[in-house]
């Protein structure tokens, strides 16, 4: 075989090998570019998540006191609620007594596992009309999510000679709170 032909074959083989290497290199560059794009997207996602968590944490820190107050406002057990309602009776001299309590509806499940439940209390009281109105006014202002559903105020004809205690009241008061007692 002439020497020139031999060199040509060697050169061809080297060229093919080089071309193969180039194709591999080009594919490698494409793959690297894709990986880099994915890394950038992931990095941006993590950065967004981090910023969101920071904002969330900041919001939680800023509203810590207000949320604690809201929890105190909404978180009452049944016994405390009954005591608060009956304390109004003592303060106004109407001797308000809670005679019944029942859940109104199914309530609302809160994130974290508790239940916000409206409870309707039925109570009765006696006294003068002014005393009963004062009791109603105090019920309206209790530091609770309270709503007066019904009032029935009646003058007792048998107590005409004792007007100070001549009125009787039955009230249905709905209190919405986070309760853990089943009713």
């Amino acid at each position: 075989m002439p020497r020139f032909a031999y060199l040509s074959w060697v050169s061809l083989a080297a060229s093919v090998a080089l071309l193969g290497a180039l194709i591999y290199g080009a594919l490698s560059i494409q793959s690297s570019a894709l990986d880099r794009a994915n890394e950038i997207a992931q990095s941006a996602q993590e950065s967004d998540k981090s910023a969101y968590n920071e904002r969330l944490h900041s919001l939680a820190a800023e509203t810590k006191d207000e949320r604690a107050q809201l929890d105190t406002f909404a978180h009452m057990d049944i016994v405390t609620l009954v005591q608060m309602l009956e304390d109004v009776g003592k303060k106004t001299g109407t001797g308000a007594q809670v005679s019944d309590a029942s859940a109104a509806g199914n309530g609302v499940a809160l994130p974290g596992g508790e239940n916000l439940q409206p409870v309707v209390f039925t109570l009765s009281a006696k006294g003068s009309f002014q005393q009963l109105m004062r009791a109603v006014s105090l019920y309206e202002r209790l530091p609770l999510a309270v709503h007066i559903d019904d009032l029935d105020i009646e003058h007792d004809p048998d107590t005409d000679t004792a007007p100070a205690t001549g009125w009787h009241m039955t009230a249905r008061i709905r209190v919405t709170s986070v309760t853990q007692t089943s009713l």
């Binding site: 950038i40 919001l59 809201l70 994130p111």
Partner: protein, 147 residues
């Protein structure tokens, strides 16, 4: 010839390869402080739910004592009230107050007119019997309103 072409292609690809290889690696993303994030999210969502549920109760409730006293305040002299029934408005009906008592038919008519003139109340109704004096001075007045 093929060798030269390959070399040229290699030269053409070199900048791309260098650009990707030499690009400064991204700073590792700051790891989010995920430790307290779920607790914060639950706590804030809980508070939002509480506010959503409780705000209508606190903002929308009218005062029954004020409404009752307003209705009684319109009462002319000579009208005695012996029974007051109050029912707050709900999703299906407006609020209602029923006043029961004794008075002459003229006083009952005057009381009805006074209540009707008060724009706090949407409607005032009195049974005809009370207005003609057929009920022996006993009357009832039913008042509807947004309370």
């Amino acid at each position: 010839m093929l060798f030269i072409a390959s070399a040229l292609i290699a030269l053409a690809l070199a900048p791309s390869y260098l650009a990707i290889s030499l690009a400064a690696p991204d700073q590792p993303a700051a790891q989010p402080d995920a430790k307290g994030a779920p607790d914060d999210a639950i706590s804030i969502a809980r508070s939002q739910m509480l506010v959503t549920q409780l705000a209508p109760l606190l903002a929308g409730s009218s005062s029954p004592s004020t409404i009752i006293m307003r209705a009684l305040g319109e009462r002319p002299s000579g009208v005695a009230i012996t029974h007051i029934s109050y029912k707050a408005a709900d999703q299906s009906s407006t609020g209602e107050i029923q006043l029961v008592g004794t008075a002459s038919r003229e006083r009952v008519a005057a009381y009805r007119d006074a209540l009707t003139a008060d724009h706090t109340f949407n409607s005032v109704s009195v049974p005809v019997g009370a207005l003609v004096g057929a009920d022996g001075g006993h009357f009832s007045i039913t008042i509807d309103g947004n309370f």
